[in-house]
Symmetry: D2
Subunit: 351 residues, 4 copies
């Protein structure tokens, strides 16, 4: 149940509504959505409580959401949320456009970043990706360049004017990653790292929330709820494959979950065709499929020297493959009534 | 390893090549592909054996396939196989067209069949489906009309001139189902019912082979191999969702498997968006996604009175939803450079 | 809902009770359990119907089972079912004993059978296994010796006096397999081969029903229901591992399902530690675990020359390993208050 | 590859060995194991490198581990690691004993803690559990008492003299949780929260590492490797169920993984039968099975007022059920040649 207070509600009125909820055994969590205070409870009590609350002073309306999502639900907010990044002309997720993020899995060097970024911008990417902090299964694998990687990424952001997204892996790093990038990526392994979600929510920065590799759609939306109830509604969900018995692909890309999530939530949903399939030859067909089933964008691994990539090179597209993907994507995006977000057309300076 | 004999090879030459294989510990299985005898072995021995065989009398060429698929592999046959059904103007799977099969989950009555068939034909289906023998989890659920259902389906085939596909669940029924329909469906639960696969192979009828709900891509292709090595190359594969932990959809539709199967095999692959998702609102987005990622067609549940359907009504589209799907499908199919197979335009008589 | 007729109920009374069910929209399936007619329906209607039925002439009692199992449910039959095989001194599943079936995966030759059988009998196996018809993923793999294998197995049955179980893969073979063996095994791939289940049910022979590799517990019990409603209550369930993402073991042995199945059904449940784990070093720990959690027995692959086995040799125990297993099993079986079924002590003639 | 330096190796010798590894393209990570410096690399290069290294000054021996585990591998350390907690008479995991941890899922109040702790100590638990920081799927669910909960748990530790384990969910909290408890639990959702693992490793406190719900055995051991390579070898692994398609149990308890992990690693492995099954009636059979297949202990949810539990009450045993479990556990533990770790026999003061 969500009790939406009116913009003019006094502190006393908020407290009085909270007290009413507590008297029914419900424990309200207070949040601020679009400048307005809302009180959120896990359970719903009966319909009679909603009626009582709606006539309480300072209460604007009461929303009863079935299931366990709350602020992420279309019942609370029917219209699509648009998450805009960067300054004017930047990337927008969740509107009529279809936006493609591209870049290397890991930031490695200035030369690598220049090469990859030039290439993906030329082909129409509207946002850049690149990992500085890499969560790796083995402690002996390359763990990313850390702060140095963050700086290299920020240089590309400045050079191209494009927004950048990068992963943050621990609450302590949120502040510095938020300063150097436009969007915080929460990786699949951290989807239920709740302290990290809360900290990302508090940062005010847009969040790219990857689905955990064994998370249900409901758990994914509840992870987003952790960000939203901190007052941050700029969340983009990202499907990146789930674990199944199938060994022919790295993970099983669950596009039904994209369509289902779009039905349940107002938040934008994008797809990662690279990490999910783990095979370059599957990236293009899965990208087209994502565009057709309602996704709002893609995040694609691109490397201009994949065989020497320090992380996950085997799945990255090269420049030419990415260019081909973008060319094939456009008619499909338009066939479902959307527009491929346009590439920047200004010239790029070398750092 | 596949030893392809020349069309003029004598019986003695075939036996001599077989003997050569046996002398290396390989046990050849003989099959006839496009009128030519081939000898197939599980293992491959060394490259030297291939050289010896290729110069043996009556041997045309030797194909060494890595992995365990043989006749289904693109290594054996690089070009796409087209499976054509019905007379001229019927459905073709695997060419440049994209063909849609539609109809009710189960055949129930003449009135139901007339209504559903009229509706799907009007919207552009080029082939009909309808189950007469229904494999059901519980022995107390409706098991299909059996032979009576087969007759009702055959009446629609005659009335419309469209090819029909229906499921066969046991080897004994193959002959009679082959007589009354154009294509034998092997359901997901029977994907590894090897006697049924052999019998369907021997029937010479085209086969629609659904992927088992926990079958790997490799196991699916090996099930097709059971049909092909009986001398029957007319197999259409059908992805219909796999089992995973996700409970928000009935099964997890694995579209990566469609793209991967298309890469590995020359056989056509279609998608069942109805049984996989179990939710009508997911059928259209998943159909569009299937068309984009390389599938050759769809098989869709349609019911004009879904709330009274005797089997799986909850997931069926109604006439209007199916018509909308077909309308949205056309531009997507064309955006990937294919053609939506045209609906018949002749008038339909009532049975 | 199950309507149990009294032993003296007339044909008219049965028909009258059936008619009453049909008038409420329930479609009764008639079966004979322990010589008594029962009418089984999928749904239950309201409690009032049960009251009406219980006072109808010829009706003994009405059992309302929640969930979808019926004759397999402990609600219908609270006490454990014991399935006894062979003549006096044979194997019994489901009582206070714990019985071990052992033998090779596939029957290969008289010498192999003599060696393996002598070895497992010496270590305490009370029943023999051996596959004559082998369902194999690839059509080019060894498919079993077929009828010749059946004969070899029957010779061991005669030689040892022990009951034997062997797999049947198609309805047509049920009659001949039932003649040559004491128990019909339905393999995991055929768990939902409903025609095969019905035919096995009609044969009157005890059935060993393996759980499908992606079957839920409920689907497994409903597959057993197909056998029971044909009037055959001698079903032993067998857990043999399910498919999961884990690749360190061949399948994931689901022992919770054993304990849960024992709670839900009166049928005996045994465990296959060989096919599930695929690793000999896991067979003993998983056998002990099975004995501790309530299983009624084991079915174990043993081969005296595993490296030359024609099928699944890699997972088989050798004689010594099997002997060690039996030695370690005894105290664990006794620690949970049961008795390891005793080995035969007569001398064995060579065939 | 692990290069074990001799205890007398100089800083220069360590650096020289590192340099040798780097010259072959291997990036060594330095760690301290039992007071000795080891250099660990992800890859292994050829056997020739090992020979060169073994004759380098200051190098004691070189261990080449196949697969990706290193310090956790039995190849590096063949004998079982014993993890001892608390002062003399506390709990030991990994020796010949079998130790049971018990307590409530969440710490709720002094009265609740007194009641549950008295009950589990009376029945033979040798260590206490209780969550103060609860990671919850929904932000609106009870999140644990936090620091107040930690204090309540510490009071029980003091009152009983028993060691306690509690979950830590974020790196920042490691220090304070390490002060108030004997062992840090890393939950399933945080198994790949690598910063948390590193921080726990650095704390020097023993770590209870739960397996992620979709983690392979290899990933689980590599997560432990993150703790070990920080110089902390006191890690106890805990299997708590994995995600599969089966919906009849909360998770699928993977006991094969316990036996397989015991073979691969020298670290102790225990089992959580409560969270894995989610059903009290499955806790006892799965506990007995765990004891039989090689587990070194259990961690069990117990609540004296489960129907009012604030978290996961539905799966907790009550006092009587726990007492019954302990009684049934003893003979099974002894049947596999181990000893149930004895309960304390001193009287307990009330806090």
């Amino acid at each position: 149940m969500i009790v939406v207070m009116s913009p003019q509600a006094s502190r006393e009125q908020v407290e009085s509504a909270s007290e009413l909820l507590r008297s029914r055994g419900l424990i309200p969590v207070s949040s601020t959505v679009a400048g307005v205070t809302v009180l959120i409870t896990e359970g719903t009590d009966g319909p009679e409580l909603a009626t009582v609350l709606e006539s309480a002073p300072g209460v604007d309306r009461v929303v009863t959401v079935s299931g366990s999502q709350r602020l992420t639900s279309r019942v609370f907010r029917p219209e699509d949320t648009e998450v805009a990044l960067g300054s004017a002309g930047g990337a927008v997720f969740g509107g009529t456009g279809f936006a493609v993020i591209a870049g290397p899995c890991a930031v490695e060097s200035p030369a690598q970043m220049n090469a990859v970024v030039d290439s993906v911008v030329a082909s129409g990417a509207v946002m850049l990706r690149g990992g500085a902090f890499k969560p790796r299964t083995s402690p002996y694998s390359f763990q990313g360049l850390g702060l140095a990687g963050l700086t290299l990424l920020a240089e590309q952001r400045k050079r191209t004017g494009l927004p950048v997204v990068t992963e943050v892996v621990t609450p302590e790093d949120v502040k510095c990653v938020a300063e150097e990038s436009d969007m915080l990526q929460i990786g699949a392994r951290n989807m239920q790292n709740f302290e990290l979600l809360r900290e990302a929510g508090a940062s005010g920065r847009p969040v790219l929330l990857k689905r955990g590799m064994s998370a249900t759609i409901e758990e994914w939306l509840l992870a987003a709820e952790y960000v939203l109830h901190m007052g941050n509604s700029d969340v983009v969900l990202c499907e990146r494959g789930i674990r199944s018995f199938e060994r022919g692909t790295r993970f099983t890309l669950d596009l039904s979950a994209v369509a289902e999530a779009k039905r349940l939530t107002h938040l934008p949903v994008i797809v990662d065709p690279s990490h999910s399939t783990g095979k370059p030859h599957l990236v293009t067909p899965m990208s087209l499929a994502a565009a057709s089933c309602g996704a709002d964008g893609l995040i694609v691994d691109v490397h201009t020297d994949a065989s020497n990539a320090m992380c996950d090179g085997a799945q990255a597209l090269d420049s030419e493959q990415f260019s081909t993907l973008m060319g094939r994507l456009k008619p499909v995006v338009e066939a479902v009534g959307r527009t491929l977000s346009p590439a920047l057309t200004h010239s790029l300076a070398q750092v």
